[in-house]
Symmetry: C2
Subunit: 173 residues, 2 copies
Amino acid sequence: MSIIDVMRTRRSTRKYKPDPVPEEVFLRVMEAVRIAPSGKNLQPWHFVIVKDKKMKEKLAVSSAHQYFIAEAPLIIVACAYPENSYAKMGRYMKSWPVDVAIAVDHLMLKAEEEGLGTCWIGSFREEEVKAHLGVPEDVKVLALTPLGYPNEVPKDRGRKSLDEIVSYEKFLA
Amino acid sequence: MSIIDVMRTRRSTRKYKPDPVPEEVFLRVMEAVRIAPSGKNLQPWHFVIVKDKKMKEKLAVSSAHQYFIAEAPLIIVACAYPENSYAKMGRYMKSWPVDVAIAVDHLMLKAEEEGLGTCWIGSFREEEVKAHLGVPEDVKVLALTPLGYPNEVPKDRGRKSLDEIVSYEKFLA
């Protein structure tokens, strides 16, 4: 599967089969995460893998009641170490949201290639999610995603044309 | 080229050949950007493509004097519309850094597949870059990247092991 085909067929999946993700498939997906690039190669991330049904339901409630995420066999919670980034980057920028976003993008692309569905969950009560999982105070939660085999084929939502998003030499929009 | 091979061979390229990027190759790279996912499909991004030598040099100076970026045939400046995101997402989160980071990750992966080099530039004086390119006040600049054919093969910088970045059911690091 070419990379553009992977990008083109990826969707936000909101219906999942109960089938578990085989360990070897899960490890291939996580390998794509592990090798993701980050500013100064800091890799300021940690991923909590949740399979426990009750915990998945708690996370769903704390994620704006998006109950579908608890139907997937597992939920991956993407955490970030902002202080590590700040210190080493001289605090001139917040690199951690970008770094962890890249890692999660790698996750979603590799998952798609493996026939798995994901859904970027950015709407959640961070303090609740942190309390559920025992995430330390100085660690951030950037996003959650369910991971499992899709039980739907979501439609293409369309995109802007290239002309709408690109200009040459100067900003023209 | 499998997606994991693309991810594995991608490097931050800091030496470029002067050879131009053929238009059809450039368009294939930008197609990967165009189809990137974003929160609520807002696509809160705009990309300025800079080929002018003097402008590339100005951008290099404003990017912590990383002069190598001006050697590439072009520089892509990734901009974001934060206000659009805030308004439609109900201001409960800053989705735009994540959204634009995903789009730039798509750019870098597709560029790698095409044999092109890129380098995430996150260290720049935003107000200067905006002034150079005429970026409106309410638009942000997230990152720049040179795009061109590599004139070096950077070494693998290594990564943490999976055990170091993953825990199960609870945060354990």
